[in-house]
Amino acid sequence: MSVQFPLTNLLPNRGVAALLPGDVQVAVFRTSDDRVYALSNIDPFSRAAVMSRGIVGDRDGVPVAVSPMHKNAFDLRTGVCVDDPEVSLAVFPVRVDAGMVMVGAP
């Protein structure tokens, strides 16, 4: 089960939300070095589906997306919350092929 969309829909340093079957929401991010990551779109602290709208950057060299709700940062590679390692987001498999971003169920 996977979805795909054109990479051109994903600005560098920004995220978009994608809908997987079964109403599963995933946030797909593209960093400035052109890597693509996919995490759950639901911020575990606020329970709102907003992760894709957060700022992308780094904390001490760790690539992160920051929830726009209460500014918790999550490691894009592992989904672990940088400020609170007890909390993490589900990580989704993602790759870019022929200009298309493909996201699968975890």
């Binding site: 979805v3 795909q4 969309f5 829909n9 994903l10 600005l11 560098p12 340093n13 920004r14 978009v16 939300a17 994608a18 809908l19 109403d23 929401q25 797909v28 960093t31 400035s32 070095d33 639901i42 606020s46 329970r47 709102a48 589906a49 907003v50 709208r53 957060g54 700022i55 992308v56 950057g57 780094d58 904390r59 001490d60 060299g61 690539p63 992160v64 920051v66 726009p68 709700m69 500014k71 940062a73």
Partner: protein, 829 residues
């Protein structure tokens, strides 16, 4: 067992005692009753003169003390020391275990014939000022009204300033041959006289009032010098006398010049009775200043809780700003010590006078006087009684006052208002206080007059506490420095800036800050190109993120004025999209519950109806609130609505370090709450008063008066400069209030920069604002006209238009409100 403390008198000193007791008496050993003669809660009498700016007594009110039986408007009439019982003016009987007299002092009115005429006042309480104001207004004749202040001391000049604030031309009459005879010498007083005369005060020294006579609606005051003054009011300000009548009636000993005699523990001859402040006489001294009173209050609090604190006598040094003129006097200012030497610098051109008094061997500082520029005071006062190295002239020579704090001994007081020594501050720094706010809260230093704040900073620096100004881990620069780099280097993108001047990829702190800087410098639409990726979610979607991931929409309603047609469009949009509707505190309409993909449709309709972005989402100018002013209000003296609209349209879209709010009130009744805003305007009969640095929020603060009675063009020019100076130099998320507080020199410095152009940057600031005003374009219109930007407003990249399944609503009070995901809904039957 709980004992009862009764405090008689609720001025600043009585208030301080009540507060100190409640702070320290952690086990609740004392019940506290306060008998207060005035009907108002304790207020800052030292700042009494500022009351004429606002006529809002609330501004002066001291923080309420919790856990005290405060009886306002109830004075102590009789005290029975044997029964330990007080009969109050309401006929109540109150018993005590300990009694503290804090009755303060009363103005001295010299026995001038006519002193009881209507139109003659004293200057001591808020009620006195209200009465003076009423008389001034009743005088109501055309032309400039005049007043006489009898007494050219500290308080007399304060009173004269207050009269000036009420629109009178004051005459100051002083018996001594110079102004402020106690604090200042002939040289200093000469300069002081020149300076205050430039401010429309007429000074008569070496003379006194012989008789005051009624003359129709006015009065004639005949001076002993033969001069006759026609005046509308007379204010007596010829000194104060301790209010010791209760103590006398109780049979307690009073001093030669009055005042209840107390020992070094502030205890009277009766072991259960204490006296503090201006009604007390310690070691033959009656202090007419608040700092010694505070120190006495602390001594008594300590004693009542079993301590052995003593009052060591107090420094009568003073530093004030009278009518905008700095005056300071400290130590042996008049060189009364045997063999004392004086070193004087009198610069008539610059308008400054500085004198230091040193011992006969020129090795010890004894005191000094500063007029015109008292900036050296905070450094010199703690050095009194200490050895000075080198030439004493260097202490007062122009640009020679830079005495290193390191040379100060540890027991020197850095904050004289709260008696905080250098050692205490060093200790606090050693325990981890790393900034000025931290030092303020753990030592109280710098919390009263604030003049020692620069020294606190210097002590932090000397202790090696690096005051990091780095914005975040990606930039070593402060926001202000980055602003200058961007403005000066022509760098126009974040990636170029971080490559050349930072490291890493950036974060949620530096990206929005740089986005704001780029927006302030007019680099196109906030969602253009790379800039879009820097924006926080609110700026990215030009709407405010709410708790369930939906957004709120706030169209601009300049000055709060809106037509019924526009109201109908807003209502229709809200109804069609099921938006929760609420009027905001800033006179706008908030529409909640829009999803990302609905935003462009909603805004299309609002823009078509002639509305535009209200920037409720940005760190930007939000709203300029107004009352109705002269348009409808029977009290309004200027058109506050027109000015509010003009200001809001002028500054709309201005990105700033923190959100900005403003308001315009049409009269001193202040219905628009302008003093709670970053910049607020209050109409006067002659023009506008501009206030800056106010805010609501977590730490509410009233704005300070920057200039008064200016015309609209001047006002706008000053606001242009104020805002642009703030945008350029404030830290990230630093409100205007904190920005001004953190500035060396505070409000005075700000005034020097933007009113007097002391840095020569005003033309630059104004032209930057003109550029902003000229380049303004509605951000939402910009999105609606650009298909690429519009494409970002979609729920899911692979399923645009599919609603977010996590968002649902329920109904409350007839409107839709969000249901939180993961929190089961309990439906009541």
């Amino acid at each position: 067992m709980t004992r009862t403390l009764v405090i008689v008198g609720y001025g600043m000193v009585g208030h301080r005692l009540a507060q100190a007791m409640r702070d320290r008496d952690v086990h609740g050993a004392w019940r506290i009753t306060v008998l207060a003669e005035e009907t108002r809660p304790a207020y800052d009498r030292v700042a009494l003169s500022s009351y004429v700016h606002t006529w809002d007594a609330g501004d002066l009110t001291l923080p309420a003390v919790v856990g005290v039986d405060l009886r306002l408007g109830e004075a102590a009439l009789e005290i029975d020391r044997v029964k330990r019982e007080i009969i109050t003016s309401k006929g109540e009987r109150v018993t005590y275990d300990a009694l503290v007299l804090a009755t303060g002092s009363a103005p001295f009115v010299p026995p001038v014939p006519g002193r009881e005429l209507p139109g003659c006042f004293v200057y001591r309480t808020i009620d006195d000022l209200d009465a003076i104001r009423e008389a001034v207004e009743a005088a109501g004749r055309t032309g400039r009204r005049a007043g006489m202040v009898l007494g050219g001391g500290l308080l007399g000049l304060e009173a004269a300033n207050a009269l000036r604030g009420m629109g009178l031309s004051p005459h100051v009459v002083e018996l001594a041959p110079r102004l402020m005879p106690i604090q200042v010498d002939d040289g200093g007083a000469g300069l002081l006289r020149d300076l205050v005369q430039k401010l429309d005060l007429t000074v008569h020294t070496g003379t006194s009032a012989q008789v005051i006579e009624r003359d129709g609606q006015r009065m004639v005051v005949k001076l002993t010098s033969g001069v006759e003054l026609d005046v509308d009011v007379v204010v007596f300000s010829a000194g104060i006398r301790p209010r010791d009548d209760l103590a006398r009636a109780m049979g307690l000993t009073v001093g030669q010049c009055g005042g209840v005699v107390v020992d070094e523990g502030c205890r009277t001859g009766d072991a259960n009775v204490y006296a503090i402040g201006e009604c007390a006489c310690v070691a033959g001294m009656v202090y007419g200043l608040v700092a010694p009173g505070y120190a006495m209050a602390e001594v008594v609090a300590d004693r009542l809780l079993g301590g052995t604190a003593t009052f060591p006598g107090a420094d009568t040094s003073t530093k004030l700003k009278l009518l905008g003129v700095d005056v300071a006097s400290f130590g042996d200012a008049h060189a009364t010590t045997e063999g004392a030497l004086e070193v004087v610098f009198n610069d008539a051109v610059a308008g400054t006078y500085a004198k230091v008094v040193v011992s006969d061997d020129a090795k010890t500082l004894l005191g000094g006087i500063l007029v015109g520029d008292a900036s050296a005071y905070t450094m010199l006062r703690p050095l009194v009684g200490r050895a000075i190295s080198g030439d004493p002239a260097a202490l007062v020579a122009p640009a020679g006052t830079d005495v290193a704090l390191g040379s100060l001994p540890d027991d020197a007081q850095v904050c004289s208002c709260n008696a905080v020594t250098k050692a205490v501050i060093k200790g606090a720094i050693a325990e981890g206080c790393a900034d000025v706010p931290g030092l303020k809260s753990c030592t109280k230093a710098g919390t009263t007059c604030g003049s020692c704040v620069p020294m606190l900073k210097q002590l932090l620096t000397e202790a090696g506490v690096a005051q990091s100004k780095a914005l975040c881990e990606h930039f070593d620069y402060s926001r202000a420095e980055l602003f200058e780099i961007v403005a000066g280097s022509g760098v126009s993108t974040f990636s170029e800036l971080i490559t050349k001047h930072g490291r890493g990829f950036g974060c949620d702190i530096c990206k929005p800050a740089v986005a704001s800087i780029l927006a302030s410098l007019g680099t196109g639409h906030v969602l253009d190109g790379e800039q879009a990726s820097l924006q926080d979610t609110n700026d990215h979607f030009l709407a405010n993120l709410q708790r369930n991931g939906t957004y709120s929409v706030v169209p601009r309603i300049p000055g709060g004025e809106i037509t019924p047609d526009k109201l109908m469009v807003i209502a229709e949009v809200a109804r069609d999209y099921g938006l929760y509707t609420k009027i905001t505190g800033g006179q706008r309409i908030d529409l909640f519950g829009a999803t990302v993909d609905q935003l462009p449709h909603i805004w299309r309709r609002l823009v078509d109806a002639g509305m535009e972005s209200g920037h409720a989402y940005g760190k930007a100018l939000r709203t300029v609130k107004s009352c109705v002013g002269t348009t409808w209000c029977r009290y309004g003296v200027q058109d506050s609505v027109a000015l509010a609209i003009q200001l809001e349209l002028r500054y709309r879209g201005l990105r700033s370090p923190h959100k900005l709010k403003s308001a315009v009130s049409g009269c001193a009744r202040e219905c628009a709450e302008a003093r709670g805003k970053d910049f607020g305007v209050i109409a006067t009969e002659h023009g506008w008063n501009l206030y800056v640095g106010g805010n609501g929020g977590f730490r509410p603060r009233h704005a300070d008066l920057l200039v008064s009675d200016v015309d609209t063009d001047t006002l706008i020019r000053l606001v242009d400069r104020f805002l642009m100076f703030y945008v350029r130099t404030a830290d990230r998320l630093q409100r205007t209030s904190a920005w001004i507080e953190a500035m060396d020199g505070g409000l005075d410095h700000l005034r020097a920069v933007i009113v007097d152009d002391s840095l020569g940057i005003c033309a630059d600031l104004e032209s930057a604002m003109h550029q902003h005003v000229g380049a303004y374009a509605d951000e939402w219109r910009g999105v609606l006209e650009d298909p690429e930007k519009l494409a970002r407003f979609t729920s899911f990249v692979n399923a645009p238009g599919t609603p977010d399944p996590t968002i649902s609503f329920r109904e409350e009070r007839g409107q839709r409100v969000p249901v939180q995901l993961g929190i089961p809904e309990v439906v009541s039957p």
